[in-house]
Symmetry: D2
Subunit: 380 residues, 4 copies
């Protein structure tokens, strides 16, 4: 269980890192949306391995095919199957891990849960599973963009101790980049996907050092969502930030989520932290945005911004002590291909999960008919 | 929508801060569990207002009644209704907020979403809604304790800038309190629910100062869960940490969640952060626990530990600038009763949500029959 | 589990026949609907015991109270708790059934499933559980009526072998009552709730004879729904007729469901059974309605009509052979109060479940905002 | 929405009659079950078109491929993707229906709901969608058989007015075939899948006549399930018969469902209809089985038996009056390939849906671990 996400825009991902392929079924997509593979491929290309020296040399073109749910270039309102073949799978590289538990991987826990696992790569726990999410997320993004002009931009904020100088105005840092002005084009200027070019250069060095040492590093991805209509989110359990938190912590290698002022904001007093309401351009907004665009679990129309912590990649080349499935001590020396830092490739994953949460909540507020009207209207 | 939580142990909370009462329906509780009000009341007493000078003077005894689902002191396996009356509701205190949007409250977003709100208190967005969660959580905790000896302890780790000296061994802090040895009794030694007594004293001062200033403070609650059986959690979306993140971010006033090494762990290299597997007391465990007891979304049998960020309470006595529902500027001076710091009372909330996530995942692994056998066996 | 129904208009019923009370939590009701107890009570009055000589003499006024989810006479969009106290519970009447399995009751199966049961009445399997459904159904009906003028009328079509002469035009029976012209007022002209007065008289005799013999009878209830908007129902599993079938078979004592031409229609050829499309009053309709208003699982705008089979009540006064919970033979002589025929009181149950299915599907097509606009528009 | 079925054994079907293919994702299958394509293909072969003169001449071998979720011939506990290509799709045959609403098909309702439809065949409303259900059902059946020896046999009971002489003992018909002794081998003796050979011969003639007339016929399929463990089914909404009813009415062309004594049983008195409990072979059973194996929504260990009504196929060659999507009158003469009677091919569909309902309820009672133990134990 657990491979399904969403209530009204519902995806079920399938596939292991080494098997026939990976993909997703999307149920609940509004009908009459113009959709073909070219809407989905770009984000898959940003996610795929081998795109730069910073990432695993595994070569997968990850070409997506749509096998159902569209007709003459438009969605039918019925389930959309998106599939990507596994091509560069080299199970032999994993032969030596067959009975060894790699530290901080899911080998032991899958064995504990299922009593069986596909030891050829990470199986279902592999980041390769996220192909389906990115594909579904691209559809979600297209809907949100057409319907409400929603824009989602994620970027690498910190790698190990190297932090980009990107700050919201309420953080009061002079000379910082304004997160509200970033675009994917700016983010993609460097392979590390950090729009602060000076920090990016340093991050690349940090990652490269780790790679040379056979080691890995982690960091933080920040996301900014603009043009979110107010009213998205359901009290009390399905709050928008609760669903975003779940979505982000469901991504491999994540250890934390914070929205708005997050952990640091707990150091402020209420009188500093509260966001005063003001009248702005004919609608009610807030002067500061420590809330991160969500109050009482519901979007207030201000930009949503949050951060996700990614641990250093568990796969490293350095020798490690561990045990095998009988509890016997073993020394592990990984030879498989891997990323010394997952963050650059995780950027489209965070964007995809964000879009999936938002579109689901948007469809709860909006009827299917209205959704279609909005989508088509914008096109006209 | 959104008032239901859980798949196999499913609760639906109901009630507003000012109305007939608040409570919860619990469906999916295993049958034949010994249960009466005395199992639930203690955690409600830890949650209720007016228990110390640190909390709101609203006086509610919050006496719970079980109206269905039990027979001769045992559960029937059918829905359990738990209800608590609203007694000390003073809607008149809120009369002046009727058309004013209190900063960083849910007034504006509820209006944006529903076009109506119960302005007598926070309505559904009020912390009073959590009464039902705490009641359901107490049942979940009883099941987990009987079945597997699971123990959940939460405590206040930080208030504003005052941090308790409580650290896991992998954090390498000499002379710190060991989180794995804490009990609720130790936590409840001070009204602030911080087991580091020196820090607790300072926290109380910080809160009291804020109160005197008509202001508020936030902080961090840490939770440690022991004796979690391995195998809980579902790849890929319903990972244990994803469901915990959602559960915590669904609590009022939360802004962040981190598990294991969390945000700080992103500064480490993989070779430092990976938890080596070892053989310990006849079973496989890990030497360090940066993972926080969860790998690949599934519990590995090590203690689960995580932290939750709570913002400073939005309700303050200090005058604030805001607007009313027509967008007109207004000055707000709150007179309602409120907590200058929600953390002490939020401790049982965090424990309840933790228990609710765990019991749901435990029931997915365990049959109803097996569940009952375990619960009864332990009693024999 | 299993006490929750619906996706976007979701109810969770609670309560046993002998306990603190019975009721329901409704989540997903659109906001700003005018609602108080008087909207719900009339259908509960049609369901309650003791309303005529045909029904059990158990005396319950079944007065409903709304404990949450409304404010100043309108819904808030948050969960609505509706509760009815149990008053005339006489557990002692059931003392002798404590360890005996009543034939065709749920005593044995509840024991097999849970290893415990509330033997004071039917517990959760009692028809008393349906109080919550009828209450929720009344809200659903109000929404459907305001939004689209939907009208739902159920009536007793057959008791044992006595059948009312009520036929759709495609059945080709001269002189029959037209089901499309029936109203609840006409249905309630007799206590048996059959609008064919001649048949009703005979039905009353049949029921009375059964009662005098300490026996019981069953029959068929037919339902007609008018003004259903086209487009309700989801391919492929959540077809409208599939959800109606589930809803009806979830009612106690039901053994069958058929829609449109049903079982008899299987005797026709396709050329007779197909409903030709025609243009009627500016919209596309069908000439005949063997489909019963649903095609491919989706409503086509024609009246929906279906029939539900109710078995003869399991509780009878006549002595019966059975066994106790050790398998020992026992003779059972029921003394509890009971209905010799459940159909008259089941009429509002069928109506309630119909409304609950329809409103849930309507909300999937219609946004919350649109729903409110429609509801309010009609009122203006 | 609506393409997902089940809670713990959850399938999502995808694909249209004319597109890249059809299939299903199955999530929740217990791990370590021996599974390859040969477990699934036989039921697909019984479902596929072109298997006899009674069925459509559309030639599809319907060869299934498993693309994920298994490893070295056993299930992993993760999602299983099963896919079947569309090969003999001839969209041109449907060109003339492009803007015409075929009577009693889903053309009009899909247009009403989505404003778009794949007019090349029935699209998602086509019986071709059931390929995925049959594939998933075969897995469910294997689990049930290994775990509890559950056996499911469906057969054609009636075609138009020709009824097989197959009766349960409580129906009191001398010389009838005993439904409890039927096997799939016996059912498959004739292409019409009626084990009463004399009736089968007549049915074949009836179908052949309809075919020659360019017409179609309907009928009834009966199902018997043996070795069902007691305790399956959830009060109150997820009763076993309610879920079976939904499952059956979700199949194309169905108009009714009845369990046990069904509609005819409503003519009996309670004293005749009640099933007396007896002690039999060391366990408690019932003397008669008018209940059809379910009481209070929960299986009692007796055979489950039910009947499903299938309308005459909507596709006929005879000319029919209808309208196009502008409301203009049109005469329709179908030329596409079709079955004059769907019942023979619907037999494996009914079996599949039955298995899917039962395995889901079985998994609610049984833990994943216990499920695996049972499955593996039986194999040892």
């Amino acid at each position: 269980m657990g491979s399904t996400f969403g209530t009204l825009f519902r995806l079920s991902t399938w596939g292991e890192s080494h098997g026939g392929g990976v993909g997703v079924v999307v149920d609940g997509c509004p009908p009459r949306l113009e959709l073909d593979e070219s809407d989905v491929q770009p984000q898959l290309d940003r996610r795929r391995p081998g795109q730069s020296v910073l990432t695993t040399p595994r070569q997968e073109t990850d070409t997506v095919r749509i096998l159902s749910g569209t007709f003459e270039g438009r969605t039918l309102g019925t389930p959309i199957l998106l599939a990507v073949d596994n091509k560069d799978a080299r199970p032999s590289a994993y032969e030596s891990f067959k009975d060894v538990y790699r530290p901080s991987h899911a080998d032991f826990t899958y064995d504990a849960k299922y009593g069986i696992r596909n030891w050829q790569g990470g199986g279902r726990a592999s980041a390769r599973e996220t192909v389906g999410r990115v594909a579904a997320g691209a559809i979600a993004e297209k809907i949100l963009a057409l319907a409400s002009g929603v824009s989602i931009v994620s970027y690498v904020k910190r790698v190990a101790d190297t932090e980009a100088c990107i700050h919201f105005k309420e953080e009061g840092v002079d000379g910082a980049l304004d997160p509200l002005k970033l675009t994917r084009r700016k983010v993609d200027q460097t392979p590390v996907r950090c729009p602060d070019l000076k920090a990016a250069e340093e991050m690349i060095q940090v990652i490269d050092e780790a790679r040379r040492d056979g080691d890995s590093v982690g960091g933080i991805i920040e996301t900014v969502v603009r043009n979110v209509p107010p009213g998205l989110g359901e009290p009390v359990f399905d709050r928008l930030e609760a669903d975003l938190a779940k979505a982000m912590l469901s991504l491999p290698a994540t250890k934390g989520f914070e929205i708005g002022s997050g952990f640091e904001g707990t150091r402020l007093r209420g009188s500093e932290h509260n966001d005063p309401y003001i009248r702005r351009r004919g609608r009610i907004g807030t002067k500061t945005n420590f809330s991160g665009g969500v109050q009482g679990g519901i979007s207030n129309g201000e930009p949503i911004h949050f951060r996700v912590a990614f641990k250093p990649t568990a796969t490293i080349r350095k020798p490690q002590q561990t045990v095998d499935d009988t509890g016997k001590r073993r020394t592990l020396e990984a030879r498989g291909r891997h990323d010394p830092c997952v963050l650059p490739r995780a950027v489209p994953l965070v964007e995809a999960m964000t879009a999936l949460v938002l579109v689901d909540h948007w469809l709860r507020q909006t009827s299917r008919e209205e959704a279609v009207r909005r989508i088509e209207g914008d096109r006209a």
